[in-house]
């Protein structure tokens, strides 16, 4: 008989306080973000809801909505899931309680700073990466704190192997770090002003490499991790297939990175990149559905529980929407489909199916499962409200997405329609907007129902919290210390290479070595990125230069900054696609060489208003722009654009111009030192010319001397005009 003693048991407890904090933040910010969502939905149905204030116009609030729901609601939900499940899956408290708190309060401070700066018009104008450089640095620091805390926890774990949920958390932390840093490289031009180091087509490429993978690694992988922990816990059933977990994890991590360019089909990026984006998106279909299958089939044999448990209902509908969105994603990335869907509301419906259905419902399911456990109340305060919330949310999603799918199709089909004579059937863009307004009201109703559900969740949280015990009981657990890793499993001599690979036994060894595992995740993410990024930047033929394209004048740079600050890109694209109906409607299609001085690019991603790339050719009248910006409805009765009277009152700040030019010059825009130094004077002279033009039409316009509007007009008059001076234009 062996006299060897049992390994010594270690005692530890979990830090649930940090999870409670993140859950509170999730639910509260969620309600705020969705409230702003309803407000911006109202603004599209009726522009009066822009409230006549510059801080509350659609262009400034839409980024606030997207940032709040992505980084505040989904972000805090991710952290709650990671902090709760990792401690339990690793049988240890978090590495450092202090780092946990720095992470929590730091993240909330970042959210607050976003809520303050975005309405003020402080923005980089890069979708889902709008926050300006000081906040970007803060995000980096907080993310590093999170990473140290998480990997430190892996280090002190008492469980040798990592469960699949943790793989997804690792992928999230590694990939978001890479994406955030490389998409936020800038030249600083002021305390809250920067210019992207990339320009035009390359900037667009980087931004959508980031934008698409923010969906992948902020809204998908962490929520799959969440699913893998909370769904089998709530159902008390084994996960359907370990092999499927392995295969769909690695294929998602590797393939997702390539798919970004599908956001740029038919634009002036190189065609090979567009093709890669499409093909890898199509390949993503099954890896994504691997996650859906593992979620839904885990419930096999336990569907009776789903009927009885609102938490499982949230999960089932959430996973189903995940399956739907990840089928639709590859579909939308097929060029032919994209030619119809891009720039329309179809994209908006698609993301809301994913965001409200998948991210939202997985989060609410998790929160309801956690409430009685975190607050030690045995049950949530209002169990019946969960069921009510589930139905309000489900009906809300349908009421939102069905009309918006219809709106997207309507727009896409109307834009491309020709009549029998070969003319655009709907020559007035306004026609394609007014027809959508009833559908926009449906969206408001659907969004409102979803918001009411979120408010029910908030109330339930507070009522449950009120029932908490005077002092939380701190449970103490026992587990043996981590045993040393076994040597990596060797392939037995009688097992072939292929069957050894498909048996997945080699993977088991990886799961016991977090550092190696994380390294391979990093390799997958970085190598896939480099395959696309390096050629985009080094192959010169990707951006054929056009000699006639010159840098913007100092006043135009300043006007462009106004365009960015007001968030014009939220409704207006600057990209005419090579399609007959587009060139009929907007003018010659856009060439990559026209954007080489665009730091950052302003191609936009939707057309709630007309494309503006050729606006300088088509609308050269300063008076037109003045009157239109003062009140768009004066020019176009049914316009849903908010008015911008403040631009007619704000003084042009000539003093900032040299610093901005210097920043641009440092990025390679060919401004001479003299041009930089004389930037303010040159801007003044050009502003005086624009003013002369206005005064010719209306002597009263002299009161706009040295006002912001002159700079914006200068920029709009310049847009898309250089190419008319070109002797020869490369055709692609």
């Amino acid at each position: 008989m062996s006299t060897e003693s049992q390994p010594r048991l270690e005692r530890f407890s979990y830090d649930d306080d940090i999870v409670r904090k993140f859950v509170f933040a999730t639910v509260l910010w969620g309600a705020v973000g969705m409230l702003v969502g309803v407000l911006v939905a109202l603004q599209l149905a009726d522009p009066a809801f822009n409230l006549g204030l510059k801080w509350t116009s659609f262009g400034r609030l839409r980024p606030l909505h997207t940032n709040a729901v992505i980084f505040a609601f989904a972000g805090n939900a991710i952290f709650a899931a990671v902090y709760y499940s990792s401690q339990r899956l690793l049988k240890t408290r978090m590495f450092s309680d202090l780092l946990s708190r720095i992470h929590f309060w730091g993240w909330q401070a970042i959210i607050l700073s976003a809520a303050l700066t975005l309405p003020l018009g402080i923005t980089q104008s890069r979708e889902y990466a709008e926050l300006e450089w000081p906040i970007d640095i803060a995000i980096t620091l907080v993310w590093v704190v999170f990473a140290i805390n998480f990997f430190g926890t892996l280090k002190i774990r008492r469980e040798r192997h990592l469960y699949v949920a943790l793989w997804f958390y690792i992928a999230t932390i590694v990939a978001i770090a890479v994406l955030h840093i490389f998409n936020n490289l800038w030249a600083i031009a002021g305390p809250f002003k920067s210019y992207s180091i990339y320009a035009g087509a390359q900037d667009a490429f980087m931004q959508w490499w980031y934008g698409h993978n923010a969906v992948a690694f902020f809204l998908t992988t962490p929520f799959l991790g969440l699913m893998y922990y909370f769904l089998p816990k709530a159902a008390d059933r084994p996960v359907f297939s370990y092999k499927l977990s392995i295969l769909h994890f690695w294929s998602l991590v590797f393939i997702y990175i390539w798919a970004g360019p599908h956001h740029l089909h038919y634009t002036a990026i190189p065609e090979w990149a567009s093709t890669l984006g499409m093909l890898f998106s199509v390949m993503l279909w099954m890896p994504s559905w691997g996650g859906m299958l593992n979620g839904l089939l885990t419930l096999r044999g336990a569907w009776n529980k789903v009927a009885a448990d609102p938490i499982l209902k949230f999960f089932v509908v959430g996973v189903t929407f995940y399956g739907m969105s990840t089928f639709e994603g590859p579909l939308l990335s097929v060029r032919a489909v994209n030619s119809l869907s891009h720039y329309t509301d179809w994209t908006i419906a698609h993301v809301h199916a994913g965001a409200l259905g998948w991210v939202g419902f997985m989060t609410f399911g998790m929160v309801y499962w956690l409430l009685p456990r975190l607050f030690q109340t045995g049950t949530v305060a209002k169990p019946k409200w969960m069921e009510l919330h589930f139905w309000l949310g489900t009906i809300g999603i349908l009421l939102y997405i069905v009309p918006i799918y219809a709106a997207g199709l309507t727009q896409g089909l109307m834009w491309r329609a020709f009549d029998a004579d070969g003319y655009l059937k709907y020559p007035d863009f306004m026609e394609t907007v007014t027809v959508l307004i009833p559908m926009y009201w449906f969206r408001v109703a659907g969004g409102l129902l979803y918001l009411i559900g979120a408010v029910l969740c908030t109330s339930n949280l507070f009522l449950t919290w009120k029932k908490r015990p005077a002092k939380y009981e701190e449970q103490v657990f026992e587990a043996p210390a981590l045993t040393p890793a076994k040597p990596a499993a060797e392939r037995p001599a009688n097992v072939g290479l292929l069957s050894w690979f498909t048996s997945m036994d080699w993977h088991r060894a990886w799961e016991g070595r977090p550092l190696k595992f994380s390294l391979w995740v990093g390799v997958a993410v970085v190598s896939a990125s480099l395959f696309e990024i390096v050629p985009t930047f080094v192959v010169e033929s990707n951006v054929a230069t056009i000699a006639a394209v010159k840098p913007y004048t100092p006043l135009e740079v300043y006007g462009r900054d106004i365009y960015i600050a007001e968030g014009c890109y939220n409704c207006h694209s600057q990209m005419v696609r090579p399609m007959h109906h587009e060139t009929e409607r907007w003018g010659d299609y856009s060439k990559a060489g026209e954007f080489v001085y665009d730091h950052p690019f302003q191609w936009g991603s939707r057309r709630l208003g007309p494309d503006l790339h050729r606006v300088g050719q088509r609308l050269p009248s300063a008076t037109w722009h003045l009157r239109h910006m003062r009140n768009p409805q004066d020019i176009s009765e049914n316009s849903i654009m908010p008015p911008y009277p403040h631009l007619l009152e704000q003084d042009l700040d000539y003093g900032v111009i040299p610093r901005r030019l210097r920043a641009l010059a440092s990025l390679g825009v060919p401004y001479t030192d003299a041009e930089v130094a004389g930037g303010a004077e040159a801007a003044k002279a050009q502003a005086a010319e624009i003013l002369d033009e206005l005064v010719q039409d209306d002597p009263g316009a002299s009161r706009y001397a040295d006002k912001d509007i002159l700079a914006l007009i200068a920029y709009l008059k310049r847009l898309g005009t250089d190419i008319t001076k070109a002797a020869e234009v490369p055709q692609r």
């Binding site: 469980e159 816990k233 499927l244 009776n304 007959h580 037109w624 039409d697």
Partner: protein
């Protein structure tokens, strides 16, 4: 799939966990089955990967790219060449043809209405319905103004954006607006000119 046919009755017994298929490990009470990958899942995954090859050949090698498609589309839509005359007589004739005027109206709505309003009453641009004209004396001046614009006053030069035929059609349509009653006419600008004539 079988799971959808199983009873949803909350009182129905839950299917027992299949111990045979379970993997040995367990995390915080979570177990995993060792189920094989679904066959249709594997097949579709391979299919989406293999699809890349024929698509890339079709698109990049056989030249079915978006620019080729665009050129085809434009070539099919374009008429053989300019067919309409912008002489006084030519424009007067177009004014008599409702089908041609209808084409002119569409071009006008797309390109001119932003400044002249859809009914020609004028806004930033002058009223096109009255007898006062700034740069036009005779009907054949209209296509000239459309072509070259009036850059000093903010009017777009449309040559290069509109085709010659489109310029003829829209000019005839503009001429036809004279004498109509717009909803919000702009005050007259320029001088009174004689009625249009073919001579």
């Amino acid at each position: 799939m079988t799971e959808t046919q199983e009873p949803r009755d909350p009182n129905a017994p839950e299917a027992p966990v299949d111990q045979e298929l379970l993997r040995a490990h367990e995390y915080d009470g979570i177990r995993e089955y060792d189920n094989p990958l679904p066959g249709w899942w594997k097949m579709l995954f391979w299919a989406t990967i293999l699809f890349s090859i024929p698509y890339t050949i079709w698109y990049h090698v056989l030249g079915n790219d978006i620019y080729a498609a665009y050129e085809d589309e434009v070539a099919q839509a374009a008429p053989a060449g300019p067919t309409l005359e912008t002489t006084a007589a030519g424009l007067m004739a177009l004014m008599e043809d409702p089908l041609q005027l209808e084409k002119g109206r569409k071009i006008f709505e797309r390109n001119c209405a932003a400044c002249h309003t859809a009914d020609g009453g004028g806004l930033v641009g002058p009223n096109l319905t009255d007898d006062h004209w700034i740069d036009v004396r005779r009907i054949e001046d209209i296509p000239e103004v459309v072509r070259k614009g009036v850059p000093a006053k903010g009017m777009t030069p449309w040559q290069g954006i509109l085709s010659d035929d489109e310029i003829a059609l829209v000019s005839a349509y503009v001429a036809s607006l004279r004498g109509t009653t717009p909803a919000n006419p702009k005050e007259p600008q320029g001088e009174v000119i004689p009625p249009w004539s073919a001579e």
